[in-house]
Every structure is written in structure tokens, then in C-alpha cells.
């Protein structure tokens, strides 16, 4: 038995930026198994579908999940009271493949930043580049510092950190790292994967797609990949991903 759905006690629910909520949930059976880049599939009262949320951090007893309110489901989640028991299937999917002795550049854009925290904790002295639209959406900066990362903050409008995109910083610093891991909006991932290819650096990207079962049975969260023989086919974000080798993704 690889999968299990269990109840997790919500022990913290805090709005850490406008519309962005920081959950800590407790379950000693499942939390300890989580790997960087995997996700949790969360039951939402009154909703047919669960909400897939990437794992921001985990230890032996707890999992941290940071999510943005985007619709009714995440709205309901944001209003859950501490002490509530939440049905969660976790950990799911394939996370980032981290090798020892490599220096990583970890890039997060917007709500793609949270999974990079747990990833940062699994790597040695990573370069972390976090990008946000504006100052009021900036999250997790202290956590990255505490994780021992070399941290760069960018905002699209220049209200905090470097005025510009994560890709501007990546181009400057790419020779300081061996490999790139990224999570964020598709245009950002596309740009990062082009830069990685140009500089001949391996690159892993974490994708998002509207999801059903979360385990690979219903085939709804399709993403197109190109195989080495040039053939294109649909794989599925939940089971084959969410982390893919950037080279094979057809953006």
C-alpha cells in the first residue's frame, strides 16, 4: 500500500500575505514520508474535488502547506478553524531529484515559491530566487534565510528587492550553480528552461494542471511531453509529475 488518506489536525492557519494562507497540519504517519516537490491532496468540505497543494515543509509530525485563495475551494480552506481535522492524501507525485555535491538554483514564482522551501532544506547552500508581482505578495523570505540559502528577492513592479524577473537574476548567476529547480507560472518556467538549455544546465520544473483523482487513474491533469525519439504524448501531472525534466516538457 503506497497511498493513504488520513485525517490531519489543523494546528496553524495564518494569512501571511494578501490571500495567501499558511497551514500546519499534524499527522505523524504520513508527514515523515514527504519529499521535496511532492503534493498533498486536500478534501474540502462541500466540494467534490480535492485541492492539490504542494508541500512547503515537513518533519516527523507535521506538514506545512502554503496556498493562495483562487476560488471557492481555497476560500473554504482559508476559513478552516485550528483544531479541525482535514482529510489529506499525501505525499503524492514525484518530487525534485536532488543529488549530493551539486549546487542548486531553486526558483519560485508567486505561489510556486512554497515548495522551494522544503527543497532548499534538502540541498546544501542553494541559490534561491523568489519572484513576486508586488511587495504585498512576498512570502517566506525569513524561512529561506534560516534554511541557509543565498536568497534573492525580485518583484515585477520593483516595490521590494530587485526590480525585474527571476530570469534576469538567473542569467547573471547561472554559472554559480550546477542545476536548476523551478516552480511557478508557465511563462516563467518556459523562460527558465530556455536559459537552462542555452547554458547547458540540467533543469527540473514543477507543473500545475486542473486535477481529479490525484493518483493517476482519471487522466485529467494531462501535460504534453516530448520523448527522446521526438514523439509527443500526454503524461499526467499527478502521477508522472508534478516535477518533470524541463527538456521534455512541451510548453
Amino acid at each position: 500500500m503506497k497511498y493513504d488518506s488520513q485525517l490531519f489536525e489543523l494546528i496553524k492557519n495564518e494569512e501571511i500575505a494578501k490571500g495567501i494562507f499558511d497551514w500546519t497540519v499534524k499527522n505523524s504517519n504520513l508527514s515523515s514520508a514527504a519529499k521535496a516537490g511532492q503534493f498533498a491532496h486536500i478534501a474540502v468540505p462541500g466540494k467534490t474535488l480535492r485541492r492539490p497543494i504542494s508541500i512547503c515543509d515537513a518533519d516527523n509530525n507535521t506538514m506545512r502547506l502554503v496556498f493562495q485563495v483562487k476560488g471557492e475551494g481555497t476560500q473554504i480552506m482559508s476559513r478552516q478553524k485550528v483544531g479541525t481535522y482535514v482529510g489529506i492524501i499525501a505525499p503524492l507525485g514525484n518530487g525534485f531529484k536532488i543529488e549530493k555535491d551539486k549546487r542548486y538554483c531553486l526558483i519560485g514564482g508567486g505561489i510556486g515559491v512554497p515548495p522551494m522551501l522544503y527543497t532548499a532544506k534538502q540541498t546544501d547552500n542553494p541559490l534561491v530566487i523568489t519572484g513576486f508581482r508586488s511587495k504585498d505578495l512576498v512570502i517566506l523570505q525569513e524561512d529561506f534565510i534560516n534554511a541557509g540559502a543565498e536568497l534573492v528577492l525580485t518583484t515585477d513592479d520593483g516595490t521590494a528587492g530587485v526590480h525585474g524577473f527571476v530570469t534576469d537574476v538567473l542569467k547573471e548567476k547561472i554559472n554559480e550553480v550546477d542545476e536548476i529547480c523551478a516552480c511557478g507560472p508557465i511563462p516563467m518556467l518556459r523562460a527558465i528552461s530556455q536559459i537552462a538549455k542555452e547554458f547547458d544546465k540540467p533543469c527540473q520544473v514543477s507543473l500545475e494542471e486542473r486535477m481529479g483523482c490525484g493518483v493517476g487513474a482519471c487522466l485529467v491533469c494531462a501535460c504534453k511531453v516530448r520523448r527522446t525519439n521526438g514523439e509527443e504524448e500526454y503524461l499526467h501531472v499527478c502521477k508522472n509529475g508534478p516535477v518533470f525534466n524541463a527538456e521534455e516538457v512541451v510548453f
Partner: protein, 303 residues
């Protein structure tokens, strides 16, 4: 002790709960939650002669008490299924139903012939998929076309034949009668109801296929009504489905006329739904002194 066993067209099921096609793949993923023997049967992901890529994403959207999907029959093809999945499935102690689809009547016949030569227990003919351009529901919306394809496939099908019906029709009971008249051994119903959602900012449908099939608790009352109407029209057994998510829904569906049940969208809310439904059914039967679950079928007392 409650007896949950049911028999459909001579095939014995350990309980009336069958995983609905398209929600359960070929069973491997859910086997990571529990042994598949907890299910009476599995209707596998719809298969076609050749591999199909399916539709571009997004393929799913949530709706009030339900979902829309338009996967578009992504599958590895019948030969891949037989070589890679069937042997394993047959070892799981549950009834294996192959759900088949095609572009033409000839495709359906070839599929029936090929699968009749395998260890599959039953064939479910899918003439009700709303999400593909050709094949699927085009065969399922008139009595003539349902009768014609059932008759043709019957000649090649050496296994018990279930015909899966679309609710997107004016009179589903008449369509079921046509399938019965041409040799169907059972009816499964309902497939999804065609629907859509639109993103008000982009004015684009949320599903890339524009339209998708609606399923989940939202369609349950429609499914129940259709099963009842069909039960009054045919003698062959009905496998009822459409939004069943609790044991109470399951009891209702049996009372309306179903002999067995399929569970689909409920897996997405709770992978353990069929286990919970089975437990609930057993308790209900014990409390009401019902020895065999089939005693419930069609016991509705309409006003």
C-alpha cells in the same frame, strides 16, 4: 449475515459495487489504497483498437456538487491492455469488465472479437462518451443506431454484453429496449450529461474541449429517475450509476431498479467511498432484515 453477492448475466460479483470506467484507470493506482477484491468489479478505462492521446487540457472543471470532464478516451489501445494490464487485473479477485469504444461499427465489432478471445469477464459497450469527435455517443442517441450496433457487436461478442447508455436522449427507456431486443445482456446507465462552464474573465470555456460530461452528486436524481424508467421497460439487469456517493444513494439506486452499481466521481472525493458504501449497505440490511442485497432491486413503491 447480510449477503452482498449479486449476479449479472451469469457473472458473480462479491458485492454490487463496481468501479466506473474512466475514474479508476486499470486499477493499479487504487490498489495502492486497498486490495481491489473489496470491489465487486472494475470497469476498466475505455479502450479502443489503437492508442488514443485524448484531448488537450484542461480536461476537468468543478461544478456545484459535481464535475465536468473531457478526457477524450486517452488509452494505450486494446493490445497494450491485454498484454500489460489484463493478466494482473485477473489476479486481483474481482470481476474485470472491459469498456470498449470505437469510431465505427466495425471498430466495435473488432474490439468485441478481440476481447472475447481474452480472459475479460464482461464487455461494456461504450456508446455514450460525449467527449470524442467520432465514435462514442453518436451510436447511442437513437433507437435505430443502438439496435444496429448492438446487433452487429452481438455476433462477435462471446462474453456477456453490457450496453452503456447516454442520458443525452429524449427517451432512455426506449433506447434500452432496442439494446435488449438486439441481444444486450445488461444495461449500464447513466454516462455523463453534456455540460459546460465559462471563465467570465477570458470568456473561454474552462474545458478545452468546450463541453464536457457532468458527473457527481449533481446528476444523481437524474440517474435515479432514468434507472427507474428503464427498469419498467426492460427485463435485463441494470447496473445503475450517476453520482452515487453514500450508502443511502446506493440503496435508493437499488430500490429504483438497479441490480448492481457503479461508483465513479466519488473516488475523487474519497478513495475509500466503495468500502464505506459496502459497510453502510451491510448495516442497513442487517437492521432491515434483508438477507440478500438483490431483494432490494426494483422494490420502489411509486405513488
Amino acid at each position: 449475515m447480510a449477503d452482498l453477492k449479486v449476479s449479472i448475466a451469469g457473472i458473480e460479483f462479491s458485492n454490487p459495487l463496481i468501479a466506473a470506467s474512466g475514474t479508476f484507470g486499470f486499477g493499479r493506482e487504487y490498489n495502492e489504497f486497498y486490495p481491489l477484491s473489496v470491489l465487486g468489479g472494475i470497469s476498466c478505462k475505455g479502450i479502443t483498437l489503437k492508442k488514443r492521446d485524448g484531448n488537450p487540457p484542461p480536461r476537468i472543471a468543478e461544478t456545484p456538487s459535481g464535475i465536468l470532464n473531457a478526457v477524450g478516451l486517452q488509452n494505450p489501445g486494446v493490445e497494450h491492455f491485454i498484454e500489460n494490464d489484463l493478466k494482473w487485473l485477473k489476479e486481483q479477485n474481482t470481476v474485470v469488465i472491459a469498456n470498449v469504444a470505437g469510431n465505427t461499427e466495425e471498430d466495435y465489432c473488432k474490439m468485441a472479437e478481440r476481447i472475447s478471445d481474452s480472459d475479460v469477464d464482461m464487455i461494456e459497450m461504450n456508446i455514450s462518451c460525449p467527449n470524442v469527435k467520432s465514435g462514442g455517443v453518436q451510436f447511442g442517441t437513437s433507437c435505430e443506431s443502438v439496435g444496429s450496433i448492438t446487433k452487429a457487436v452481438r455476433k462477435y461478442c462471446k462474453k456477456p454484453l453490457i450496453v452503456k447508455l447516454s442520458p443525452n436522449v429524449t427517451d432512455i427507456a426506449e433506447i434500452a429496449r432496442s439494446a435488449e431486443a438486439e441481444g444486450a445482456d445488461a444495461i449500464s446507465m447513466i454516462n455523463t450529461l453534456t455540460g459546460m462552464r465559462i471563465d467570465i474573465q477570458t470568456r473561454r470555456p474552462i474545458i478545452r474541449n468546450n463541453t464536457g460530461g457532468l458527473s457527481g452528486p449533481a446528476v444523481f436524481p437524474v440517474a435515479l429517475r432514468m434507472v427507474w424508467q428503464t427498469y419498467n421497460a426492460v427485463k435485463i439487469p441494470i447496473i445503475g450509476m450517476g453520482g452515487i456517493s453514500t450508502w443511502q444513494d446506493a440503496v435508493e439506486m437499488l430500490i429504483a431498479g438497479a441490480s448492481a452499481l457503479q461508483i465513479g466521481t466519488a473516488f475523487f472525493s474519497d478513495p475509500y467511498a466503495p468500502v464505506k458504501i459496502c459497510n453502510g449497505l451491510e448495516k442497513f440490511m442487517d437492521e432491515n432484515n434483508i438477507k440478500n442485497i438483490s431483494e432490494l432491486t426494483g422494490t420502489i413503491k411509486p405513488w
